[in-house]
């Protein structure tokens, strides 16, 4: 509702505080802990270290988007088959609205599956990208467009 013209539901620049604080448990996946200055958000994210190596203290831009189409309104207002078409855009020959990913280095697709409220002001959203978890904590005012149960794209660049 803040940015009606775009599919991007959340956008900010984060600084990594730490990586794998609880010990390295997996070979190819690490968990990063980051904080953003703009919106004062906390983030934990599991990411593939082989594809997207990151260091501590590094900055990166992170965006969450409901569709990969540039501009234009929300894509998921359509009927069932509209959603289906949207799911097929990953295919090499897939038709559909794409383009947003070209601006980023690392893109994942997943689902918002849980909302959890701490105090009344601070909210945490949990998103799972095929088992890679992301938690985003901060004021609920910045997360109004993130809707429970919706598919979501994670876009990152250094």
């Amino acid at each position: 509702m803040t940015a009606v013209a775009s599919n991007i539901v959340f956008d900010d620049i984060f600084t990594i505080n730490a990586i794998d604080k609880e010990g390295k448990k997996f070979d190819r996946v690490s968990r990063l802990y980051a904080h953003s200055k703009n919106y004062d958000m906390d983030l934990t994210l599991d990411y593939n270290v082989e594809l997207f190596p990151l260091r501590e203290e590094q900055n990166f831009a992170l965006a969450l988007s409901s569709s990969l189409a540039r501009g234009e309104g929300p894509a998921n207002t359509g009927a069932e088959d509209g959603g289906d078409k949207d799911l097929d855009v990953w295919r090499p020959d897939g038709k559909g609205r794409r383009g947003l990913e070209e601006d980023y280095d690392y893109v994942m697709y997943g689902k918002v599956y849980k909302f959890d409220g701490g105090t009344s002001e601070v909210v945490t959203a949990y998103i799972s990208f095929g088992g890679l978890l992301m938690s985003l904590t901060g004021s609920f005012r910045h997360m109004t467009s993130i809707v429970l149960g919706d598919p979501v794209y994670l876009l990152m660049r250094k």
């Binding site: 994942m108 599956y113 105090t119 095929g130 809707v147």
Partner: protein, 1087 residues
């Protein structure tokens, strides 16, 4: 001699073959009753070795072709099968889809010889062809010992080459089968009715859960679990080729598979391992399988709060080792697929959830897919490298062991000086043993933890231990680091030589190595002494299992005989075959334990709610709290709810919705500055804004957190109804047999653990098979009778001691400082000087008078009260003796007086003050209670300082005598449940209740023994087939008894279908036919 060749006193003639008398023919396992009447040899059965085949569906069994040519099914020729049967007849006996006989009426033709083509051409409708069994036929598959109903199940045939029966490994669980040479039996039902009944009642698919407690027993095992775990870990990625290849593995070629979008789009498209499981659960978009579950995995590491932002409320999902499973609409959000998720024994495993929500066929299909997926994919092997400890590990382990040795030395030194503080109820030696044992067991635990930490993530045994597929942390650390203390009969290794275990050690040594501590690992190799200790302990285990199988087998048989004829009737009461009511409603609520989803509850609300939230549509207006409650009430008023569910159930649902949904939503609204809307306002309609002008973002967050739409709510209520309707027990259910099996079968799995501390060291309670045996035998003398008493003042130690003094028996010898003889010309007496100091110290309430009467009351001594004089000033008692034999009397008194009980209850061995370690209905944690070892519940209850109402005993018979039959029933139930729980075995309370009722419904406590069963049952036939065959038969013939053939055993013996249970219960009732007057017999007059 002809009647009974085992007459006592008649010696058997050597050289002569002993005669088998009539009694011997009838008696025993091989006798007429048990060998030929209750169980018979049958046709159409086969037996061979079993082997695994993951490519079979779970309800299939591969039958070797040569077996399939012998087993036949008589199929009637119809329009539909005539071509197939003609071909079968042409093929004859030796070619597989053939036939062995053709029958028309009574005329049966063998197809080995003769003109088969002619017979085939002459085949007519109505003929019966005994054809070979073919794919899809229905057979029964069984493995001994058949301890529960899941030991014989119905499979579908798959005819395959070679010589073994093959089954999917998932089905090993209920049969308790492995492939080290096990053999199994196969039976072919010969009629359509038998086939249908088998398919509906005994099919593998309908037996995925055990009726013992409703947990799945057919599920992935061993390698399937390992493979699932490896595949679903967080760092498993596949490109499209690999992903589609794996998806192809798990399906048959006829299944449409839709590939989900990849998780990582850029820089390369990658799918994660968890997505494979999404596809496995829901292969294509048309599939309606939406699994929703949240559960703990086998090993769950909790995320530490300090590692995460402080304002974030940490949820279980963030577990660093991915140990918390969340599945939303068949999409795995997080968590690994390990024992707890794909294995047996958890109601919240994905198969358990699929079974409850989408029926057995879907669950079975998914399990089949998992088996096929796990079969060809991953190589997994274990080598010597996996058990070599790293330098850090060996160092740390040595350090730990050395420190433990030093600690033990210190303890031993302390004990030698007698400076060890005794534990309650223990002497110095026992205290030392207990402390050393605890030190040493801590070592093993610590070493195990180091192993888990230091070994590589790719270590095969470690992977197996973490995902629960095989072995445990202890097994890993035994191979890698340290074998640990060897226990024999619950203690450290005892002395086999004089004062020492082996001559390798100094005498009276109590050091860990000489008492059976093995510091080496299986990798480093055991020392000679260590090896011997390990062998001793290993042998003990073997002997124990051997003894136990015999014992539990007999127990199972008795239980079965006592409960076999109990069935639910159409009014849901449980009655025996003669119509005696055992329970008015089965299990007090008429629910089937096999269909219960929650913990002895028909539904697990939390999960059902999240499932309803996920499957219901989220679009549309969110309901206001009062609307939610209104919809609930409207639904509950509908006919289907009113007719099926009792008020109590609806009330629990209503409470759940109010607490977890409506109230929460209201609170949420209030905290965002909106109307709570818990009550309907007068002038409300669709358009009234109750948000009080809250901002859009606030509305969004309330929605995100707690929006409930009408469709979601209705979905939830529907689930509530369906679950309850499904969980009701069916009339005709053989609840008795199932209950007996549910209690008997776990007995075989009980491990060595026979003893257990009841809070205090040295206060042991018998557990395991011996204890179960005591309970169901209704034994008069049990090995550890314990009465636990709640105290009036439960927080003060001194008052507890006073009560203890009142209960515990005190002997005269304990409080008398001097027992003296006095001889004088005029008189002789025994003088007793009472030590008042001791009485004070023991806090006894005892006067000289009490002591006098105690002595008088002592039966053996026969002292008259006139003989005793008291001298209160000096605390003395004198017992004067006079008469002829006064010398001997005097000596006798002096000898026996010390053993006179002056205070307390003689039957009580001792009492111990126990401090509760957790809260329960009888008090809070930290409260003092009194544990009394021995008999005498009544005495304990009336003792001052004890709350009589909350005093319990574990002795069933005593409870029955003191408190009555209902209390005895309760005690039976509680004690069985307690014993089972301490072995980590969960049994539905309904089964135990039924057993308790059977043992008590006659008004006295009847054990499940030959005497008890004889009192419960009237049928001679049933008793004869149980025990003491001939005694019952002689009795019956002498008294001219008759048998109504109403029970299960009798029906089987007579060859009838089991009466009044299961499918033989429904019957047509018609007016009895009018019988004409019997024709007079020809020679009637002559009689």
């Amino acid at each position: 001699m002809y009647i009974n060749s085992e007459l006592p006193g008649v010696p058997s003639q050597p050289g002569q073959k002993p005669i088998r008398g009539f009694v011997q023919r009838l008696k025993g396992k091989q006798g007429r009753f048990r060998g030929n009447l209750s169980g018979k040899r049958v046709d159409f059965s086969g037996r061979t070795v079993i082997s695994p085949d993951p490519n079979l569906r779970i309800d299939e069994v591969a039958v070797p072709e040569r077996v399939s040519k012998i087993l036949t099914y008589p199929e009637r020729v119809t329009t539909h099968n005539i071509e197939m049967l003609k071909q079968a007849v042409r093929n004859g006996c030796d070619v597989h889809p053939g036939a062995n006989f053709v029958a028309r009426g009574d005329n049966k033709k063998f197809l080995k010889f003769g003109n088969r083509a002619a017979i085939a051409d002459g085949l007519k409708y109505g003929d019966v062809v005994e054809r070979h069994i073919i794919d899809g036929d229905i057979v029964l598959f069984n493995r001994q010992p058949s301890l529960h109903k899941l030991s014989i199940m119905c499979h579908r045939v798959k005819v395959r080459p070679w010589r073994s029966f093959r089954l999917n490994e998932c089905v090993c669980g209920p049969y308790n089968a492995d492939f080290d040479g096990d053999e199994m039996n196969l039976h072919v039902p010969q009629t359509e009715e038998a086939r249908t009944e088998a398919l509906e009642l005994m099919s593998v698919k309908h037996n995925l859960v055990t009726p013992r407690n409703g947990e799945p027993v057919i599920a992935a095992i061993q390698d399937f679990i390992t493979a699932s775990y490896l595949l679903s870990r967080r760092d498993v990625f596949f490109d499209r080729r690999q992903f589609t290849q794996i998806c192809c593995y798990f399906a048959d070629a006829n299944l449409q598979i839709d590939i989900p979008p990849p998780t990582i789009w850029k820089p390369v498209r990658l799918w994660t391992g968890k997505q494979i499981f999404n596809v496995l659960m829901r292969p294509n978009k048309k599939s309606k399988i939406f699994v929703n579950v949240e559960s703990k995995c086998n090993k769950w590491e909790e995320a530490k709060a300090e590692n995460y932002p402080s304002r974030m409320k940490l949820v279980n999902d963030m577990s660093p080792n991915d140990g918390w499973l969340v599945i939303v609409n068949s999409e795995v959000m997080c968590g690994v697929m390990d024992k707890a998720i794909v294995g047996s024994g958890k109601k919240k495993s994905i198969f358990g959830v699929m079974l409850r929500d989408y029926g057995p066929h879907e669950a079975a299909a998914a399990m089949g897919r998992l088996a096929k997926l796990c079969a060809p994919n991953f190589g997994f092997s274990l080598g010597i490298n996996d058990v070599i400890p790293g330098p850090i590990l060996s160092m740390k382990k040595d350090e730990l062991v050395e420190r433990a040795y030093a600690d033990c030395q210190d303890l031993i030194a302390l004990a030698k000086k007698g400076k060890l503080e005794n534990k309650p109820g223990c002497n110095q030696e026992q205290t030392l043993e207990a402390m050393i044992s605890s030190v040493l067991s801590k070592v093993r635990e610590a070493v195990g933890n180091i192993c888990m930490k230091e070994l590589s993530r790719h270590n095969a045994p470690l992977i197996m231990a973490t995902c629960g597929s095989k072995g445990s942390v202890i097994n890993v650390s035994q191979m890698v680091a340290c074998v640990g203390q060897q226990i024999i009969a619950g203690h450290r290794v005892p002395d086999g030589f004089q004062d020492r275990s082996l001559p390798h050690f100094p005498k009276k040594s109590k050091e860990p190595p000489s008492k059976g501590f093995v510091r080496n690992s299986f990798y480093s190799g055991l020392r000679a002494t260590e090896f011997l200790f390990h062998a001793i302990s290993g042998r003990e285990g073997l002997v124990d299992t051997a003894v136990k199988t015999a014992e539990t087998g007999y127990m199972q048989r008795r239980l079965m005989k006592a409960l076999e004829d109990l069935t639910t009737q159409y009014d849901l009461s449980v009655r025996n075959s003669t119509g005696g009511v055992v329970q008015f409603t089965y299990g007090d609520d008429g629910l089937d334990p096999a269909c219960l989803e929650g913990d002895a509850q028909p539904i697990e609300f939390q999960r059902a709610w999240s499932h309803a939230m996920a499957i219901g549509s989220r679009t549309g207006r969110g309901l206001l709290p009062f609307e939610i409650m209104e919809i609930v009430n409207v639904q509950f008023a509908t006919r289907r709810f009113v007719e099926t569910c009792p008020e109590t159930y609806m009330e629990t649902v209503r409470t759940f919705i109010w607490d977890n949904v409506a109230k929460k939503l209201g609170d949420m609204r209030q905290s965002r500055g909106m109307f709570e809307a818990l009550e309907r306002e007068g002038e409300w309609d669709e358009d009234t804004d109750l948000s009080m002008g809250a901002s859009d973002s606030e509305k969004a967050i309330v929605d995100n957190k707690s929006k409930v739409t009408e469709s979601q709510l209705l979905a939830f209520l529907n689930i509530c109804w369906v679950k309850y309707a499904k969980a009701r027990i069916e009339p005709g259910s053989t609840v008795g047999a199932v209950g007996a099996q549910s209690i008997g079968e776990p007995g075989t799995q009980m491990t060595l653990k026979t003893f257990h501390f009841a809070g205090v060291a040295s206060m042991n309670v018998t557990l395991g098979v011996p204890r179960i045996k005591e309970i169901i035998n209704a034994a008069k003398a049990i090995s550890t009778p314990i009465i636990s008493c709640r105290l009036v003042t439960c927080n003060s130690e001194p008052s507890a001691r006073i009560v203890k003094g009142r209960l515990e028996k005190t002997l005269l010898g304990d409080i008398a400082s001097v027992l003296e003889e006095a001889w004088a010309p005029e008189y002789t007496y025994v003088g007793i000087i009472i030590d008042t100091q001791a009485i004070m110290k023991l806090q006894l309430e005892l006067t000289l008078d009490d002591i006098k009467w105690a002595i008088v009351a002592h039966k053996k001594l026969k002292i008259k009260q006139e003989a005793i004089t008291m001298i209160p000033r000096k605390n003395r008692l004198r017992i004067y003796v006079d008469g002829q034999d006064k010398f001997y009397r005097l000596r006798e008194f002096k000898r026996n007086l010390a053993a006179v009980v002056v205070k307390g209850v003689p039957t009580i061995a001792r009492a111990i003050i126990n401090i509760k370690d957790k809260d329960d209905h009888r008090g809070k944690k930290g409260d003092k209670e009194l544990l009394v070892e021995g008999y005498g519940l009544q005495k304990c209850m009336i003792t001052e300082g004890v709350i009589g109402e909350q005093t319990t005993s574990n002795h069933v018979i005593e409870v029955a005598q003191v408190l009555g039959i209902e209390a005895a029933r309760r005690t039976i139930i509680n004690e069985i449940q307690y014993t089972m729980k301490s072995h980590d075995m969960i049994i539905d309370p309904r089964h135990v209740m039924l057993l308790g009722d059977v043992m008590t419904y006659k008004g006295e406590v009847l054990g499940i023994t030959r005497f008890g069963v004889a009192k419960m049952k009237d049928s001679v036939m049933m008793l004869a087939s149980f025990e003491k065959t001939t005694d019952h038969l002689f009795d019956a013939s002498a008294y001219g008894k008759n048998d109504s053939i109403a029970g299960v055993s009798e029906s089987i013996i007579m060859g009838n279908p089991a009466a009044r249970c299961g499918t033989s219960m429904p019957a047509l009732y018609s007016v009895a036919p009018v019988l004409s007057k019997p024709r007079p017999l020809l020679f009637e007059e002559s009689i």
